[in-house]
């Protein structure tokens, strides 16, 4: 206790602690951001390896290398790991690193809880992955874990899955409360709401969505647990419940969840495009309002995932129109990004390449989403590879490209070193080609009727599946190059200037590179 008081005055001068305890006991937002980012990278590679297994199996028709049972476990874990272990922690890591620096705060608002939010994750994913070695195998019901597949017919490991989702949810809720409180309470004087950088805005909205829907997910898995082990009938029609109820609750969580995985990307891309266009962002206020509209609409569109379960017609029509409405604010954003580039003096460094690819490819994913929103069309597309192509277009060249763009954009600020521009561009082009070769053909085989989640398929889908698999291997192995580039940059390289990029604006570019362990000890001046 006395140590706390004595240390108080020289808090701002000491650097990180020595040894492993720096990472275990840290309360520093940069350390925790780094932990989150490395954790998500590890999960990205594990989930990616599972995707390689899937694509290897689908390389040609017939059963090739894995049993159908194991294939089901792979698609389930691939989805869960990429969403809860890859994309979400990566965005939280970026929020940890960037939000305090962007708003002139000393750290996150609740630094110890911040560390707790991170350290729950390795344990949660240890539990989830260990289910691979349990009797009956890992969860095999798809990442959406629809009842009764995930209740009546689930392997015993479902209990471990349920509890790991519980603690992941607790981690997300605490992390989000931290972000919201930081943004609401820790802004330096002069950083008004409508002066906040867009990444901060995007995370404020994302964190709000997370706090609103993660508890709903906790409720859903709790009902599953009770149905499986304690005789309740929530998802059991024989007892007066309804399996479709599970889908409603799940997607009430699930649809805001997919925006949780894209809103921070909107923020990142806005920063990168304005920096490399050397122009102020076009339509800042409309960007904020667009994100708010998307967030609010995300609560009233969930049932567009369930058009084929037999909902009443009025519900189908309502959810169709509500979903299509989302295209309006999204269109505003795409328009603004393009308008920002218009007549800018653009250079195409690696982050900008990823950001431009984001704008184009995310729009493709958005448009296929619009196709899926049309009820009669969805009756045809539902549960085909068209859906797989759609959400991989918004998640891989959407969310993941934005994360990679963010890493290239801010890594000079984090490490103090410039990354290797040539290798970065090589990584971009390999990823860009890989992603499109993987997922574009999936539109075709989906429209032709290939269902998702099967380890085998009819012969007419063979050619495009082979193309898709080749693209997947290209994309997958290119990420080892990404790992190499990141490690190389952290180890050394050309020293970065404080501003790093010629057009960079914002508080984080005013501090030294690498950013000092404690960025601001007093509130910075902002006009």
């Amino acid at each position: 206790m006395s140590a706390v008081i004595e240390n108080h005055h020289d808090d701002h001068h000491h650097g990180p602690a020595k040894g492993i305890t720096r990472w275990l006991y840290t309360t520093n937002h940069k350390d925790i951001g780094t932990l989150y980012l490395w954790f998500s990278f590890a999960m990205f590679l594990i989930g990616g390896a599972m995707a390689m297994v899937i694509r290897a199996e689908l390389f040609s028709p017939g059963m090739q290398i894995v049993e159908p049972e194991f294939y089901n476990q792979m698609i389930t874990l691939h989805g869960l790991i990429m969403i809860f272990g890859g994309v979400m922690p990566a965005f939280v890591g970026l929020a940890n690193w960037l939000v305090p620096m962007m708003i002139g705060a000393p750290d996150m608002a609740l630094p110890r809880m911040n560390n707790l939010s991170f350290w729950i994750l390795p344990f949660a994913f240890f539990i989830l992955l260990s289910s691979l070695f349990m009797e009956g195998g890992a969860p095999n019901f798809g990442w959406t874990f629809y009842a009764p597949l995930s209740t009546t017919y689930a392997p015993p490991s479902v209990t471990f899955f349920i509890f790991s989702v519980h603690i992941m949810g607790a981690s997300s809720i605490m992390g989000s409360i931290n972000v919201v409180v930081t943004i609401m309470n820790m802004r330096a004087p002069g950083v008004g709401l409508m002066k906040m950088p867009l990444f901060v805005w995007s995370w404020l909205i994302t964190a709000y969505l997370l706090i609103a829907v993660m508890p709903v997910l906790a409720g859903a898995v709790t009902m599953m647990l009770m149905d499986i082990h304690f005789g309740t009938s929530f998802f059991n029609a024989a007892g007066g419940g309804d399996p479709v109820l599970f889908q409603h609750i799940f997607w009430f969580f699930g649809h805001p969840e997919v925006y949780i995985m894209i809103l921070p990307a909107f923020g990142i891309v806005s920063h990168i495009i304005e920096t490399f266009s050397r122009k102020p962002l076009f339509g800042y206020a409309s960007m904020v309002w667009a994100m708010l509209s998307i967030a609010i609409l995300s609560f009233v569109v969930w049932a567009h995932h369930m058009f084929t379960v037999g909902m009443p017609l009025a519900a189908e029509i309502f959810f169709m129109w509500a979903t299509m409405l989302i295209a309006v604010p999204t269109g505003v954003k795409v328009f603004n990004w393009v308008a920002t580039m218009f007549r800018g003096s653009i250079t195409f460094e690696t982050p900008m390449l990823f950001a431009c690819a984001f704008v184009v490819l995310f729009t493709i994913g958005g448009l296929s989403g619009l196709m899926l929103a049309i009820v009669p069309a969805d009756f045809q597309y539902h549960d085909t590879y068209f859906v797989v192509a759609h959400f991989h277009y918004v998640l891989v060249p959407g969310a993941i490209f934005s994360i990679m763009a963010a890493v290239y954009f801010w890594i000079p600020k984090w490490s103090g070193n410039m990354y290797d521009e040539r290798l970065g561009k090589l990584h971009f082009w390999l990823s860009f080609i890989g992603v499109n070769v993987t997922f574009f053909p999936q539109h075709f085989i989906g429209l032709a009727g290939m269902p998702r989640r099967y380890p085998d398929y009819a012969l007419q889908f063979a050619d495009w599946n082979m193309v898709s698999s080749v693209g997947a291997f290209l994309f997958g192995f290119s990420q080892l190059l990404f790992l190499f580039i990141v490690v190389k940059t952290v180890m050394g390289g050309k020293k970065a200037t404080d501003q790093v990029w010629e057009g960079a604006k914002g508080l984080e570019w005013t501090v030294a590179s690498p950013a000092p362990y404690h960025t601001f000890s007093t509130p910075p001046k902002v006009d």
């Binding site: 206790m1 140590a3 706390v4 701002h12 305890t21 720096r22 006991y25 309360t27 520093n28 000393p106 609740l110 630094p111 110890r112 911040n114 560390n115 707790l116 350290w119 344990f123 539990i127 471990f160 509890f163 603690i167 989000s176 919201v180 409180v181 930081t182 820790m186 004087p189 609103a212 829907v213 993660m214 508890p215 709903v216 906790a218 409720g219 709790t222 009902m223 009770m226 082990h229 304690f230 005789g231 309740t232 009938s233 929530f234 029609a237 024989a238 007892g239 007066g240 419940g241 309804d242 479709v244 409603h248 609750i249 009430f252 037999g310 009443p312 601001f520 000890s521 007093t522 509130p523």
Partner: protein, 304 residues
């Protein structure tokens, strides 16, 4: 808030200890639940260890936070962060209950009538002669499948009519919990006016009322299981009834425990000042939240 220098806490062991405790807790819980019918399985001890570690970590963590606060280390900004943090935590709890209320509204409005053959969708069920003889009522005392998978109840917990109102436990529970919200508010007023005796007495009354509520709830559960045959196995009415009231009861216990800790801090350690008592205030917010949830339960689970 402006001008002063920022305060950042030192490294702390608590977070990772707590994460590890949670890990033990959920590993123990999963393993215990998966082996409920195996009496030789002793993973319940992992569950207990996890729970014990969690409790101890939280105890020492909160103790540290209180000490830092009393030592004057907390800036006004940090105090404000606690206020915002608690408010958002309560919002997340609201959403947790929303999931269960949503389930209740869904089964009452859609699932049960459809299963009984009402409406266009029910017509499809009727047409294939599934679940014949199942009637849509609420509380629904039968299940669509009449097999012995379910233990049907003879009686529900719903409003028994004015003649029996006084022997109906939920009414007393409502009175107890609503009064406890008033007493905690009086305690708060006492504290604000510097009247510690009033604070202690009324907080003590609140904690007592919380205990009475939990006792009544236990009596109600006993009645349901022993006399009505209403259990978790009684189909969707039992499921929603026990899950909603059960989670509420669990939150009452947590809120009551928080208030009891605040009472102990005030009585034994003399904590809280008239202008500086957010620990208590947070607990009282939580208590009011629990109260509001009960009002919703009373309306939608018991009365309507």
């Amino acid at each position: 808030m402006s001008g002063g220098s920022y305060y950042v806490p030192d490294q702390s062991r608590f977070p990772i200890f707590m994460a590890f405790s949670l890990f033990l807790l959920v590993m123990g819980a999963s393993s215990t639940i998966n082996n409920l019918d195996d009496p030789t399985n002793n993973s319940v001890y992992i569950l207990y260890t996890g729970f014990g570690c969690l409790f101890l970590t939280m105890f020492f963590w909160f103790r540290q936070v209180i000490k830092e606060h009393l030592a004057g280390l907390d800036s006004n900004q940090l105090k404000q962060s606690y206020v915002f943090g608690m408010a958002w935590f309560i919002f997340s709890e609201v959403m947790f209950f929303a999931a269960f209320f949503g389930a209740l509204f869904y089964v009452r409005t859609f699932a049960v009538p459809w299963l009984a053959g009402e409406g266009a969708k029910g017509g499809a069920i009727e047409a294939i002669e599934l679940w014949q003889g199942f009637e849509s009522t609420w509380p629904v005392m039968s299940t669509p499948d009449q097999g012995n998978e379910f233990v049907l109840a003879d009686k529900s917990m719903a409003w028994p009519g004015w003649d029996h109102a006084l022997e109906w436990l939920p009414l007393w529970n409502t009175i107890v919990l609503l009064s406890s919200s008033v007493t905690v508010h009086i305690a708060h007023l006492g504290l604000k006016n510097g009247n510690r005796r009033k604070f202690n007495i009324f907080l003590g009354i609140t904690v007592t009322l919380a205990l009475i509520f939990v006792g009544l709830q236990a009596a109600e559960y006993y009645e349901a299981y022993a006399h009505y045959g209403l259990t978790l196995n009684s189909g969707i009415y039992g499921s929603t009834f026990f899950m909603l009231t059960g989670f509420h009861g669990f939150h009452v216990m947590m809120g009551g425990f928080m208030l009891a800790v605040m009472l102990a801090r005030s009585v034994f350690a003399g904590h809280f000042e008239d202008h500086d008592h957010f620990g208590f205030e947070a607990a009282s917010w939580y208590w009011h939240f629990v109260d509001v949830v009960w009002v919703m339960l009373f309306l939608f689970v018991y009365i309507l």
